[in-house]
């Protein structure tokens, strides 16, 4: 059953009780939370995801709850817990929905070494997965958000899961994280985009999440073959420019953007090598989303 078929009341009850279990890409997660904003975040952004019954194996048991202390009342905060362990310091109460997203990122990045995990967004069209890798602020989420607003399938934001055995990119089509001016850019670019609650004054600035297309969520079980690795750089006023990048330089840049490269050792090196063998690699600078999407759509045709 999809989450959108449940009432807010039953979602709130599940979250406050035994937890709400969701299938997200390759993972089963169970979330407990007494925070109303977390329920609203799920209702707004996770409506197309399937709720699991109580019998499924759960990969990540997580919770977002206020601490059991006076901080519940004075400048309230929330904790993120994973299997009863608190990997982070608490954050302000208003950041609870974003804390869920960041915490889940950490769970996946820290515990999924069956995948090579690259700090990259991935989108797909015509069976071709394009991987947008780069440091925070390079514009990869903005670009991928705009592309999925124009019909590309969202495979993942924040992290690309590359399977070491088959080389395919596995979907985790969670909400796209948008920061600061990217929020306005996407609002103007696609007024129909659904963006959840906005959280100000985080360590990353102002943060909001865009709902993934229902069609992307429905195809969560279908991986895609990477054909392009692109290192985007958003620069206001810049020309749209796609410059070929040697495979060796691309491998080095990918290694710098991997979460678990050092943990995987030679297996990770081989995985990146195979990815570079199988793809065309580019540096990409842009400021005009329509031009960028037209270029990539042509490349994928």
């Amino acid at each position: 059953m999809k989450l959108s078929a449940s009432s807010r009341k039953s979602i709130v009850q599940s979250l406050a009780g035994k937890g709400l279990s969701l299938r997200i890409g390759s993972f089963n997660i169970r979330l407990r939370s007494s925070v109303g904003a977390v329920a609203d975040h799920l209702i707004c952004l996770y409506g197309a995801f399937n709720i699991l019954d109580g019998l499924d194996f759960i990969d990540f048991n997580v919770a977002i709850n206020p601490p059991l202390s006076l901080r519940r009342y004075l400048r309230p905060q929330v904790n993120f817990s994973f299997d009863g362990y608190f990997p982070f310091k608490p954050l302000p109460y208003a950041q609870a929905p974003a804390f869920f997203e960041w915490g889940l990122n950490w769970c996946i990045a820290s515990h999924s070494n069956q995948f090579l995990i690259i700090h990259a967004a991935a989108v797909e069209l015509n069976g071709q997965a394009f991987i947008f890798a780069g440091i925070p602020g390079s514009g990869k989420s903005t670009l991928s958000a705009a592309m999925v607003c124009r019909g590309w399938r969202l495979l993942s934001d924040e992290m690309t899961l590359l399977c070491l055995s088959d080389g395919l990119a596995y979907p985790v089509p969670r909400p796209v994280s948008l920061k600061n001016q990217s929020l306005d850019i996407i609002r103007q670019f696609s007024p129909d985009a659904i963006i959840g609650s906005i959280v100000n004054d985080t360590l990353k600035g102002t943060v909001g999440h865009m709902r993934p297309p229902d069609s992307s969520v429905e195809r969560s079980a279908t991986p895609a073959l990477p054909t392009k690795v692109i290192f985007p750089k958003y620069k206001q006023g810049s020309q749209t420019e796609l410059a070929p990048l040697s495979k060796a330089k691309a491998l080095l840049k990918l290694a710098e953007n991997c979460f678990n490269y050092s943990a995987l050792g030679k297996e990770g090196f081989d995985g990146l090598g195979r990815l570079c063998d199988a793809t065309d690699c580019y540096d990409f600078s842009y400021s005009n989303l329509d031009e960028a999407i037209a270029l990539f759509t042509e490349l994928a045709s």
């Binding site: 491998l251 080095l252 290694a255 030679k266």
Partner: protein
């Protein structure tokens, strides 16, 4: 610097290569370091990834494969390159008897 030596890969399989055209990426498994190496360095590593070479054999390969200017001191360049890569753990040098 020795003048009569053989260059080979480290003995324990710590070093892994990926070669593309005139570039290569080297992964040193023990340190976790990754190195991007181009042109003559990549050429040297490509050779020794296939088999050990003596200094004189390497010099001959470089002379045959690159258009070197008259004032380029190939021997000094090769010796320095080998010391640098030896220090990074990418190859081993054995003195020939």
């Amino acid at each position: 610097m020795l003048k009569n030596y053989t260059v080979d890969l480290p003995p324990n399989g710590w070093v892994w290569f990926r070669f593309w055209e005139d570039e290569c990426v080297v992964f040193h498994e023990l340190s976790g370091q990754i190195h991007l190496i181009a042109e003559m360095g990549a050429f040297l590593l490509k050779l020794i990834s296939e088999q050990p070479y003596t200094r004189s054999q390497l010099l001959a390969h470089f002379v045959n494969s690159f258009e070197l200017s008259i004032d380029f001191n190939l021997e000094e360049f090769l010796d320095k390159l080998i010391i640098e890569y030896q220090n990074l753990g990418l190859l081993t040098v054995t003195e020939n008897s």
